[in-house]
Amino acid sequence: MERHLKSAGPFIALLALVLAGALINDAFLSAGNLVNILARSSFIGIIAIGATFVISGGGIDLSVGAMAAFISGCMILLMNFLLGFTDSVPLIITGALLASLGIGAAAGLINGLLTTKARIEAFIVTLGTMGIYRSLVTWLADGGALTLNFTVGDLYSEVYYGRLLGLPYPVWIFLATATSGYVLLNHTVFGRHCLAVGSNDKVARYSAINVDRVRTTTFVLQGICVSIATIIYVPRLGSASGQTGILWELEAIAAVIIGGTMLRGGHGRIWGTVAGALILTLIGNILNLTDAVSNYLNGAVQGIIVIVAVLLQRGVWSSRP
């Protein structure tokens, strides 16, 4: 009973923030603002879905922000390049999407293999690859920004701005990713294995689970999620630079933690993560709508929420006095 109450925490916090927003400013509840919040949450949200797998499997991935920047850069370069060969913009975009997914999966695979086969801590591996991807994109952009060609950009921007049933595509993609993530984590053998590995990898091994494969797969999933987020991010700005996706890794981890997933692994909550991502965006949005707290304190408020979330959770799983 108590447990259910506490696991509802992130959703209660989300509701409280919505109420607070509504009280602070009438504009908050306008359809435009709400849709905007949802759309903005989707980048971090989708990345955080992947992070939920990595973290509940007992790992951590610090490279996601840099990976997003790198994939953006590659996609833009590829699309501009393909324009020299074909006029079919849809074809070009499709090519870029496939490439994005491929790069994302490969980058995740590298992280995964380095952690499992080379037996280096995930923290160290992804700290390393974070630096590598970040400097690669800076190098590709020659220190400046890579900009998408207009012709492609016009059509591609539909992916970010287009709507279905009143909601922008990114929101639908976020929802679809979260739903698949939920089913995968809670209703499949892989999901179970992932939690088992995060809970105690020795026990998992003695239970005939291929621990390395499960761990590696969580990193690949993370890479794919980063790639999906990038696919909807690129048309929004139409450019990529060394500054793209800065600190996204921390926001993603924060969303996961706020959502009730434990950093030490073994327990994952996909819908909690979704709530976490929404909470992070809401804080920024509400601070924008009020003068009571300076907008510059956005990070501070987010930080406080993360710490409070962990304090509240401590009672939920703790087994020992």
Binding site: H193, L195, A196, Y206, I209
Partner: protein, 519 residues
């Protein structure tokens, strides 16, 4: 030593009066009274889940009772903020069923964990090492305080746990199933230590499922059943049968089901040839006959688990080893535990807390983890899983206050039953069980033997690794005895005798060539 005063009027060191405790609304202790007197060894006896550990945790501050009082040195203790530190200050300490030492730290660091000695701002390693050494020596234990705990045997770890209580200050020492993980010889050392402490006026509480050791060691016995105190007896007033009857509520005439004779034209299920185990002195081979129970006996550290973990792909043999495994006449490759499982060979670890169960996950997840594919296509069939789980809970009589608790909250014996349920869910044809009755009460023990027997009857072949020689003699068709990583010999049932088996186990006798005679 004031032996006489101790015997005439043993001083009351700690008394519990009508102690009750519930978990999640379910009562697990119903008004228990217990008296611990100086110089007395007080045994606690009861089935798995009867509440022994919980009672002890309350005495030592690890749990707080819902009702009742604790009286120490003539005055009632305030129980609202009763905790292990306060208990320790009064000299009341507990050695838990599952150890909690920091593996990567040295013995000295463990002994002083959380109360490190300092000189100025720095840790005073020299004094800590010296004092740790003194504690160990007072236990007649010659370990070097600088050794890492991860390198120690179970028995040595236990000594460290005891040394950690800083023997000199202890008035009440509570030992939760201390001998469950020890060999006979190691237990003797512990008994001696317990007697010594009792002579010095310590009140010792001792939980055990081994009735003979209770008879040898205890002065008083308190018996719990389903959270109720059945009675408190002087040891002389009880015989073995009484103990069992009070504990289980019925008589158990024969612990072991009769061993079924094997047909003369037996088939070999498993043939292991020239299998080199890492760090073992020589390659090992053995046969397993269809429908038999093959025992593996040896002293702790003789390499039984390593051998069978290598067979089941849990340990890699050294590179270049030429071991061959034949299953039902077909040579098989078992590179990982998964292949073993898919071939129908399951290994059930003895380390239930570290390798057997996910202590922070719920019971259902633990139950289905090993045989998950039985309940899953693309998705896990939750209903099927849940009903198999419920059935297993009934079949294995796993007792728990609620099905929602995490596995770590089960009593030790019930964890063991869950572990059995988990591996049997895969319906293996060759079942390798490593110390399956460790920490199991006598009633459940006889049930487990019946279960193993019914498995044999239904065509399963069993390898039973055990350090309990009566269990080996009671259950097995043959026994393979190991000594220092080598197979010292294999004995048929007709040749079984405790003495003979022990001769092989201690290296006095060997059938496989280069016998290592001990002087």
């Amino acid at each position: 030593m004031s032996q006489s005063t101790v015997q005439l009027s043993p001083e009351m060191l700690l008394e519990g009066r009508s102690i009750s405790k519930s978990f999640g609304g379910i009562k697990v202790l119903h008004g228990i009274d217990i008296e611990l007197r100086a110089g007395e060894v007080h045994a606690l006896l009861g089935e798995n889940g009867a509440g022994k550990s919980t009672l002890c945790k309350i005495l030592c501050g690890f749990e707080r009772p819902d009702a009742g009082e604790l009286i120490s040195a003539g005055s009632a203790l305030c129980l609202r903020d009763w905790d292990p530190r306060k208990a320790e200050r009064r000299g009341i300490v507990m050695i838990h069923q599952e150890f909690n030492l920091a593996e990567q730290l040295s013995i000295a660091e463990n002994i002083f964990l959380g109360r490190e000695l300092r000189r100025g701002p720095f840790l005073d390693y020299r004094t800590m090492t010296r004092e740790a050494g003194a504690y160990l020596r007072s236990l007649n234990c010659e370990l070097d305080p600088g050794t890492r705990v991860s390198e120690l045997s179970v028995a040595d770890r236990q000594m460290v746990e005891i040394a950690r209580t800083r023997v000199g200050n202890v008035r009440v020492l509570v030992l939760d199933e201390p001998t469950a993980v020890l060999t006979g010889a190691e237990s003797e050392v512990l008994y001696e230590l317990i007697r010594k402490l009792a002579r010095e006026g310590v009140a010792v509480v001792f939980i055990s499922h081994k009735l003979d050791e209770i008879q040898r060691l205890a002065d008083r016995v308190s018996i719990l059943r389903d959270g109720n105190l059945v009675g408190n007896f002087a040891i002389g007033d009880l015989n073995r049968e009484d103990m069992v009857r009070h504990m289980v509520g019925r008589d158990i005439d024969s612990l072991f089901p009769p061993v079924r004779p094997l047909p003369d034209d037996f088939v070999k299920v498993l043939e292991v040839r020239e299998l080199q185990v890492r760090d073992a002195p020589e390659a090992v081979g053995f046969d397993l006959r269809q429908g038999e129970v093959l025992g593996f006996f040896g002293l702790v550290g003789s390499g039984r688990s390593s051998l069978l973990e290598t067979v089941t792909g849990l340990r890699k043999p050294p590179v270049g080893s030429r071991g061959r495994i034949t299953l039902n006449g077909r040579e098989v490759d078992i590179p990982d535990p998964r292949s073993a499982r898919d071939l129908g060979i399951s290994y059930l670890t003895k380390d239930r807390a570290g390798r057997g169960l996910l202590l922070d996950q719920n019971l259902r997840m633990n139950f289905s983890l090993y045989a998950l594919s039985r309940f899953a296509g693309a998705l896990i069939r939750a209903k099927e899983e849940a009903s198999a789980f419920k059935q297993a809970i009934d079949e294995f009589e796993i007792r728990c206050p609620s099905l929602e608790i995490s596995a770590g909250k089960l009593s030790g014996g019930n964890q063991q039953k869950l572990l059995l349920a988990k591996f049997l869910a895969a319906e293996p044809r060759v079942l390798i069980v490593d110390e399956p009755t460790r920490g199991i009460d006598i009633g459940t023990r006889s049930q487990i033997y019946l279960l193993l027997d019914s498995l044999v009857q239904s065509g399963t072949t069993i390898i039973l690794i055990s350090s309990d020689i009566t269990e080996i003699i009671g259950m097995c068709h043959r026994v393979a005895v190991m000594y220092r990583g080598s197979l010292a010999g294999t004995l048929d049932r007709e040749e079984f005798s405790e003495r003979e088996i022990m001769r092989y186990a201690t290296g006095l006798k060997s059938r496989t060539g280069n016998s290592q005679m001990k002087q």
